[in-house]
Amino acid sequence: MSTNKSTLKRLVDTAEHLVERGIDKRVRIAVTGLSKAGKTAFITSFMNQLLHVTDNDQLPFFKPAKDGRLLASKVSSYDELHIPEFKYKQSVSYLVKELPEWPPSTTGISQAQLDIRYKIKNEWLRKVQKQSHLTIDIIDYPGEWLLDLPLLRLSYKEWSSQCLELIKQNRSDSIADWQEQSGQLIYQQPLSDEQITEVSNGYKTFVKNNFSKDHTYNLLQPGRFILPGELEGAPVLDFFPVTDSDILHSDWDSLAQDSLIKTLEKRYNYYKKQIVQPFFKEYFEKVDRQILLVDCLEVLNGGYQNYCNMQFTLIELLKSFHYGQSNWLKRMFNPSIDKLLIAATKADHVPPEQHRPLEAFLQDMLQEARNDIQYEGIDLETMVISSVKVTEAVMAEHQGQKLMCVKGIELESGEEVINYPGKLAEQLITRNDWQEHQYDFINFAVPDNLTNGILPHIRMDKVLQFLIGDKFR
């Protein structure tokens, strides 16, 4: 009799384990966005909301939390030990220290893993097991590196033509220097490594200035030129595009192997194969959910050219995720990413009544990409969010008119200001539309009243619900 009982118990145990394995879930979230879009702040807030989920009543749209089914959460250690940990505590401490500031921008890759324990909702599963847990992986990496993703689809020649087009649109002083320098090169002849380094440094300076100072959002690649990370000074980064249209249109097959053009092509291909491909393969493989963060405000300040640049860059980026000539990417991503969220960040910098036009603006900007993605049968949504809310909406009177503004501390001056950024137009697509409107979105600093408890946010609960809400079954 007792042996029977123990056998039965063992059977039940095994069944329980099996069910647990079936229920246990892992969700990997890819946080994508160009640099300065707010990835680090987003991940910090995302983790913050989840870590305080049990006593956080500021998440009305996050269903599992609202139903009280989330029991506890913690930061856990992950299996990929070679990836540095995302410094959550440090990021929060930046926000709450005596002279608070935004967490510094990311210079390397890091990962965070969260474990959430929850009560099972499904009636049948609940009979076997009352609780389960969900593991969430989030990766933080410099947004600049994301620009390399479209490179995977381009040969050296195609990339050079694309660069030529982009340089033509973008006339700045730094490009003139480099163009003069590169104009003297004879591509058919061999060139010493030192000279190649010199010319490529000129190109690097141009790309860097263009990206970080002018905020043009040009798709000037490679991303590692802007932020080399651990590859600083390595010869793999010593190459540059051919911007001579005669040479671009000539046939390269007959050229000698040691000619400059062949050397550059070799290095480009090496970069693509050894740097870019492994990076995306390792960090973006097995991704279930993706969020694309877009900073619309800088673009609105910048004007039509910036708008076009960003549109082009983002559409190219999204293309790489969903379809493209490089099949391994398609195979890798398509079956797994089933939800994409496109979010306009820094919503707290915009008066609340203008969130709707801002969302419409974002939708219009990415109309083409959204259409393509939705064709693939992927759940796609757009939102206007703010990871950490640092302003307050107020009504202020200006020249007899009541305006809805935002009040906060301006980042540059450190003074408290009330800002009315201008009225967002319903239609903002053509060059004429842009000339009629003028915007002044300012950057706000972190106020000194944040605590290391729950961070104030705008619509992070909706983000949580969209990205992981369906996983707590």
Partner: protein, 360 residues
């Protein structure tokens, strides 16, 4: 609204600012929701659908039948009672006085009832308008117009219920940045969800009660009266929970449903009788058909209750939160089987009783 950006430094100029929460609605209040309809991107699809026009009222003699008949009968009755009272006065002054007082009382209470009914009917109509306003706000994603409507509805509800608990949750969860859709959704899931639960409890109670009554009652005619009485009681209670209490007189449409309900109860009676006849009128057969009939009536009442909920809830149900008949059905089955099998305790009854305890 201004188009050009403005930046004001607080240090330099002394600007008066107001919190958005309080001032927003004066500022946006004059904007009509209807005129905004074409601005919302999503509303395009909503307004592009064909809509049935209201029937043009046709004057016909048939329409005049009821009012004229009513006036005639009422006039005759008043005249008759006048004659009757006059007659009594000639007979005895005290008797006449008492009769006058009674008639006056009847008149006044009748008038009050009518007026109350009329008011409650108007309330229901207003509730329907609110539903439409909320629907429009939900579809259009506007900003700054929802709170006003929510406050109005809230005022109506709080006359009949203490909702200070859910309201404090609501006000702690809403932010000044939430747009109308989000505000309404939060309101719906914090305050109205609680009301739904209350209403479902009430419906479940009434449905079970009448199911048991019908199952036990020996007379078909008594069944009909029972169902009519219980369902109108339930109707009143459910509508009161949502803050627009209805009297049976007041809501003609709902009363019509009660009538239909009665008819159905009668029909099922006839069927049951026929069935019992076929089964040879054995006692067990009659009992089990009565039970089945009781459950049927209970379900009908539950359906009516859910209809009433749909009519009275200020924000319409979505697919996620719409009340399900299965919730009531479960408790109905278990209760009626428990109660009826108590009379002849068997193995099954003990089992179902045990289940009942487990659930409790």
């Amino acid at each position: 609204m201004k188009d050009k950006p403005v930046k004001i430094s607080i240090k330099k100029n002394n600007v008066s600012v107001e919190k958005v929460d309080e001032q927003l609605f004066d500022y946006q209040g004059n904007k009509s929701i209807v005129s905004e309809a074409n601005d919302g991107r999503r509303s395009l699809s909503a307004s592009s659908k064909p809509r049935l026009l209201a029937k043009s009222p046709k004057k016909s003699l048939r329409k005049l039948f009821w009012p004229s008949l009513f006036t005639f009968v009422a006039g005759a009755a008043i005249y008759e009672s006048y004659l009757f009272i006059e007659n009594l006065f000639t007979f005895n002054v005290v008797l006449g006085g008492v009769a006058t007082a009674v008639a006056g009382l009847a008149l006044v209470s009748g008038a009050v009832g009518l007026i109350k009914g009329w008011i409650s009917r108007r309330k229901l109509k207003r509730r329907k308008d609110k539903q439409q306003v909320f629907n429009q706000l939900l579809a259009e994603n506007t900003y700054g117009e929802g709170q006003k409507v929510i406050d109005e509805v809230n005022g109506e509800i709080s006359q009949h219920l203490d909702i200070s608990g859910p309201m404090s949750v609501y006000s702690s969860q809403k932010q000044q940045v939430h747009n109308d859709r989000e505000l309404i959704q939060i309101y719906s899931q914090t305050v109205l969800d609680g009301l739904d639960e209350l209403a479902l409890q009430a419906i479940s109670k009434h449905a079970t009660e009448s199911a048991v009554m019908v199952a036990l009652s020996p007379l078909a005619a008594a069944d009909m009266a029972l169902v009519a009485w219980r369902s109108s009681k339930m109707l009143q209670e459910v509508s009161r929970i949502y803050g627009c209490p209805q009297t049976t007189l007041g809501r003609l449409g709902l009363t019509k449903q009660v009538m239909t309900n009665m008819m159905l109860a009668g029909a099922s009676d006839m069927l049951a009788d026929a069935g019992a006849e076929l089964l040879g009128k054995s006692l067990t057969a009659t009992v089990s058909t009565k039970v089945a009939q009781g459950i049927g009536v209970g379900l009908l009442i539950a359906r009516m209750g859910i209809q009433t909920m749909k009519l009275c809830r200020p924000v319409e149900f979505t697919n996620d939160n719409k009340p399900k008949l299965s919730y009531i059905r479960k408790s109905l089955y278990s209760k009626i089987t428990t109660i009826l099998k108590k009379s002849e305790p068997s193995q099954d009854a003990i089992k179902s009783q045990g289940e009942q305890h487990d659930r409790d």
